[in-house]
């Protein structure tokens, strides 16, 4: 079965989604989805081990050889992303049972888990495939599932949030498709490795340059780079808690992966950073984004919204790393993709637990949380420390690498911006911690969140600490992935 690993990751949610839609009640679809996500995680981990042992893993769909058929091509970068996606799914799904039943209602649970499985399917599909058009197909699968999931939020504003994400997401996907269309016209191929081989010869043409611009802009819309992030705060604020935790941890990260794949593998470092002014465009946007979004998040009364703005800021760090165009920058970027997934997943799950007990996620609901819900509160503190980048947490590891990468280039102002961003994070996290510690509880009779929410939440919090201390796994894989990506596209 090992030879089929890439397709098994996809197959688990693909078979699960239609079955889940036919099951009754809240519990059966949940159980199915949870077991399948664990199975997918197992496959992803095995895949990562295989890639580590034997190098790039290629799977031809339907036996049609690339470049005619669709191939799945797994190297370090997408193996790492797969572990992140399926790992987060495996933690969020056990958490979802109570949270979703509470927020969505038992009758809509089968459809919820169907959509969630389709979302997992789409995200994993984008990650494993080695075909540029196939990326678009999976992008649409995941996006349509996301629109549905966001619209299931309790608040009626979830509908407008979902609609505006639908518009922005469709524009992004269309730009991507236009770019891929141009590339197809110029090269006659959609296979990524084949594109990477053919593009250098014709990279001087304006069609290829236009394709590059369309693809980068389209993906930046999906990954919510400042100033294309306007869909994100509402979408994260009003969607159900479990959805926010999963989306915040994975959805934009997969878009980052697609950007990395196109910039480094398909177009190549020389074209992206030499012929095209990618660094000159992305670095300022990333820095403005991380500073302005951090500042805006200080002023948010709704903590879920605050974390959403913080996500925009963290995307700034990630894009900053990859826009350096160096192996170290790329390592930092990939590390932060993984680490930010861990910390934002944990923090959004805290907000889900608060919403479960207190009925809301405003700062008033957080007041006195240390007394009423200590375990939830301390999970927020640890996740917040990780977000700030305190040593012994994952946040420190990725920011440390990001600073090293900027120092390597001698970009002192960038180092100052990164540190300033962390200071702003101290302010916005500190504000909530202060309210939790010293505030008077709105309702002192509220008790700790149920174990069904606390256990998955603390698994993620412990992962934040674990990968902050034992960095061998994440740093080694990120470095190996960066080396592979910098070497250029075709790793045969």
């Amino acid at each position: 079965m090992l030879a089929h690993l890439p397709v098994l990751v996809i197959l688990a949610p693909l078979l699960g989604a239609p079955v889940a839609s036919l099951l009754r009640g809240p519990n059966w679809p949940w159980l199915l989805a949870t077991l399948l996500s664990w199975f997918a995680l197992l496959c992803s981990v095995l895949l990562l081990i295989q890639v580590n042992a034997q190098g790039t893993f290629i799977y031809t769909m339907g036996g049609w050889e690339a470049p005619w058929g669709i191939e799945y091509r797994i190297d370090f970068a997408n193996a790492l992303l797969l572990v992140l996606i399926t790992g987060l799914a495996s933690v969020v799904l056990p958490y979802a049972r109570l949270s979703v039943e509470h927020e969505i209602g038992a009758d809509r649970c089968p459809l919820f888990y169907t959509a969630l499985l389709l979302l997992i399917l789409g995200l994993c599909g984008i990650t494993v495939t080695g075909d540029a058009f196939n990326v678009f197909v999976f992008l649409e699968v995941s996006s349509l599932a996301t629109y549905t999931l966001i619209a299931m939020g309790r608040d009626r504003r979830a509908l407008t949030a979902s609609f505006s994400y639908l518009i922005m997401g469709t524009i992004g996907a269309t730009f991507y498709l236009i770019g891929v269309g141009f590339l197809y016209v110029m090269t006659g191929t959609l296979n990524m490795a084949d594109l990477a081989e053919r593009l250098p010869a014709i990279s001087d043409s304006s069609t290829v340059r236009t394709a590059f611009a369309f693809i980068v802009t389209g993906i930046c819309l999906k990954l919510a780079l400042f100033p294309l992030h306007l869909w994100l705060p509402n979408a994260y604020t009003y969607s159900p808690s479990a959805v926010t935790a999963f989306l915040g941890a994975t959805a934009t990260k997969v878009a980052v992966y697609v950007l990395i794949r196109f910039v480094f593998t398909i177009f190549g470092v020389e074209f992206s950073f030499g012929a095209e002014p990618l660094a000159e465009v992305l670095v300022p946007l990333a820095i403005i984004g991380l500073l302005s979004a951090s500042t805006v998040s200080i002023m948010q009364p709704n903590i879920k919204r605050m974390l959403a703005y913080s996500s925009v800021a963290q995307i700034g760090y990630i894009v900053l790393g990859l826009a350096m165009g160096t192996a170290m920058g790329l390592t930092a970027s990939l590390l932060h993709v993984f680490n930010h997934g861990l910390m934002k997943g944990a923090l959004f799950m805290v907000m889900g637990a608060v919403a479960y007990r207190m009925g809301g996620t405003s700062i008033d609901d957080m007041r006195g949380l240390a007394k009423t819900m200590p375990l939830t509160f301390w999970a927020f503190v640890l996740g917040g420390l990780s977000l700030i980048g305190v040593p012994l947490t994952v946040g420190f590891v990725s920011k440390w690498h990001l600073i090293l990468a900027s120092l390597e280039l001698g970009w002192w102002p960038v180092v100052v911006a990164i540190l300033a961003g962390s200071m702003l994070a101290v302010v916005y996290v500190g504000r909530v911690v202060e309210a939790g510690f010293f505030g008077e509880p709105k309702d002192a009779t509220k008790r700790e969140a149920p174990w069904g929410l606390l256990v998955p939440l603390w698994v993620l919090v412990i992962a934040n600490i674990w990968f902050g201390i034992d960095t061998r796994l994440t740093v080694d894989i990120a470095e190996a992935a960066a080396a592979q990506l910098m070497a250029g596209g075709v790793v045969r």
Binding site: H4, L11, L14, L15, A17, P18, Y59, T60, G62
Partner: protein, 140 residues
């Protein structure tokens, strides 16, 4: 619509042919232009005409929503399971060569089954979408 006698009679006359044409597009898909997606839409359009002429209630008696939901899900399952079958018989996912002893026969079997799954899902989802929108005004 009870007074639109001509429309109703012409509609009754057309609907069987539309259904038949849908089936033709479905099962001729592996020899000529056609396939599950187009066939599903054509097939569903017959139900749309029926709904317009005879009302939503009548159409839902023929194709109840709960049946359509099962059909929609099973279409996807047929597609996915054909791939699994190819995998169990020694090939890659969706490699139809392995579905029969003769690779060409295997390709025929595979594509017919997969397109059948696509047709089921597309037809039932089209109907579900139309019924949902058509039912909105009556519900509220």
């Amino acid at each position: 619509m009870s007074d639109h006698l001509i429309l109703r009679i012409v509609g009754k006359f057309l609907i069987p042919y539309i259904l038949l044409f849908g089936l033709y597009v479905q099962f001729h898909g592996d020899f000529g232009p056609g396939g599950g997606f187009q066939a599903g839409v054509i097939f569903a359009s017959a139900f749309v005409i029926h709904t317009l002429l005879f009302g939503l209630e009548s159409a839902e008696r023929i194709a109840p929503q709960w049946v359509l939901k099962i059909v929609a899900a099973s279409g996807v399952l047929i597609y996915a399971l054909v791939g699994v079958a190819a995998m169990l018989m020694g090939g890659n996912y969706l490699d139809y060569d392995f579905l029969a002893a003769d690779p060409i026969a295997g390709q025929h079997i595979g594509i017919i089954l997969v397109e059948f799954g696509v047709g089921l899902t597309v037809a039932s989802v089209m109907m579900l979408l139309f019924f949902t929108f058509a039912g909105r005004g009556e519900a509220s």
